[in-house]
């Protein structure tokens, strides 16, 4: 057994164990421990980020739906407002037209009544003038003045006769 490949070497054996244990201790303390911890915390971080992203996406979708809903409502409302104001305008215009027409009618009616009254008063006046003239003319023709009383009764009679045939 003088082959150097199979020589037991307790010194090397113990050196190996010592070297390895020292390396293991140092690495475990300074490298593997912190690294494994960092890997785990990064794993958690990535998981959290993915969850957050998922949540944000859902939130965004919800908000988009909400805003779409709001826009839809607003559009419907706007349409309602427009149509309401259009019908309001229509009604207002109609009312104004109506009022204008009725005003115009009132004015016309007033004017007509005024005209009638004026006409009637003018006719009355003309009639009186005519009576006076007739009396004057008649007294000249007759040549004498009728007594006051005769006069008056005659006038009344004449007036009645004039007015009667008119009605």
């Amino acid at each position: 057994m003088d082959n150097p490949l199979v020589q037991p070497d307790p010194g090397l054996f113990i050196w190996t164990i010592v070297t390895f244990l020292v390396l293991l201790t140092l690495l475990a303390k300074f490298a593997w421990g912190p690294l494994l911890q960092a890997l785990e915390s990064r794993h958690a971080l990535i998981k959290k980020s993915l969850d957050d992203a998922q949540q944000a996406k859902q939130e965004l979708e919800r908000l988009q739906q909400e805003s779409a809903q709001i826009i839809k409502t607003a559009r419907v409302e706007a349409e309602a407002i427009v149509s309401r104001s259009r019908s309001d305008g229509e009604r207002l215009r109609e009312e104004m037209k109506q009022k204008a027409r009725s005003d115009a009618e009132g004015i016309v009616r007033n004017a007509e009544r005024q005209i009638q009254l004026e006409t009637a008063r003018a006719v009355q006046q003309i009639r009186r003038e005519a009576v006076d003239l007739s009396v004057m003319i008649a007294s000249k023709i007759i040549g004498r003045n009728l007594s006051k009383a005769d006069n008056e009764s005659l006038i009344e009679e004449a007036l009645k006769q004039i007015e009667t045939p008119r009605h």
Binding site: L12, F13, W15, L27, A31, W32, P34, A38
Partner: protein
């Protein structure tokens, strides 16, 4: 690397002169075995009859451990110093290794509860063995030897000359792999004791509720199994790491054997160029895979054995 090795071999053979015959077996063994205790790098006293002198493989272990510690710790510290945990550069590779070991080797075997307890051990085993295996593939010392031979010309008993003795792959030495397997051996016991208690762990080693005569057979088998597992780890790693190197060296020896046979250097160089170097390059490529696979197998089996002590199935 192989060309350099070949040149160095040739130079060494030439230096020794034609008077001494080329002994392939001796040269190969010298290149894969540890430096002898008769000429250690640092002579240390015997303690309890054990020679603690620093041989080449002890030096290699220290170099590997220092390299692993500095690279890994520096990378991890630089990564953790950032405000935002963004892995960059080498940290990506290291993280891939760490997550692979944790998620593909340790967790399936020891389970979620113990994964953080045993990942550091299995990770250290994997990285340490991988680097020790890998450094064996890089002809650092052969290059230094060439430099010494042609440029530096140091004295015969200089530290550099001492460092040139012996192989560079510490994991090709079964003393080293036995020590690593011993770590696994005790890790199994610790894992079982922590999961089930110091006594229950030993009780768990045999199935419960069998007829008593069976235990007479089973207990010795299980006790043997306890030692066979680390023994298998020891031999697998050491033999795999030695085998490839021996194959490469044997093929490169053709150069000198043919030179001696023909008595002319041109024949040996021709054989080297046509046969040895291409073959050795191929085997070196294969060795890169072996280096990875053996580190993986050692780590995986350690995790499996630790897992078996935690999750007892019979």
């Amino acid at each position: 690397m192989l060309v350099q090795e070949a040149v160095q071999e040739h130079a060494a053979a030439a230096a020794e002169g034609a008077a001494e015959k080329f002994n392939a077996g001796k040269t190969i063994i010298e290149h894969v075995s540890n430096s002898g205790h008769d000429h250690p790098l640092i002579r240390l006293p015997h303690v309890l009859g054990i020679d603690f002198s620093v041989t080449k493989h002890v030096l290699m272990l220290w170099l590997v451990a220092a390299f692993v510690f500095v690279v890994v710790t520096w990378t991890v510290r630089r990564y953790l110093k950032q405000d935002r945990p963004l892995p960059t550069g080498f940290m990506n590779a290291l993280e891939a290794v760490v997550e692979f070991v944790r998620d593909a080797i340790v967790q399936p075997n020891v389970g979620k509860k113990w994964v953080n307890t045993w990942t550091p051990l299995v990770l250290t085993l994997f990285v340490f063995i991988l680097c020790a295996n890998g450094i064996g593939l890089i002809p650092v010392f052969e290059t230094i030897g060439l430099l010494d031979h042609f440029v530096l010309h140091t004295a015969e008993d200089s530290f550099l000359k001492h460092v040139m003795h012996g192989g560079t792959t510490a994991t090709a030495n079964f003393n080293v792999t036995a020590a690593l397997a011993t770590i696994t051996f005790f890790a199994i016991i610790v894992a079982g004791s922590r999961a089930h208690g110091a006594i229950k762990h030993w009780v768990n080693m045999v199935p419960h509720g069998l007829a008593w005569p069976l235990y007479i057979i089973l207990i010795p088998i299980e006790v043997m199994g306890m030692f066979v597992r680390p023994f298998a780890l020891t031999m697998r790693l050491a033999a795999n790491m030695t085998g490839g190197h021996i194959a490469i060296l044997a093929i490169l020896s053709f150069v000198f054997l043919f030179t001696e046979m023909a008595g002319r250097a041109i024949v040996g160089i021709g054989v080297g160029a046509v046969v040895s170097v291409p073959l050795a390059v191929g085997i070196s490529g294969l060795e890169i895979i072996v280096v990875l696979v053996q580190a993986y197998v050692f780590a995986l089996l350690s995790a499996v054995f630790i897992g078996m002590a935690i999750h007892v199935h019979h």
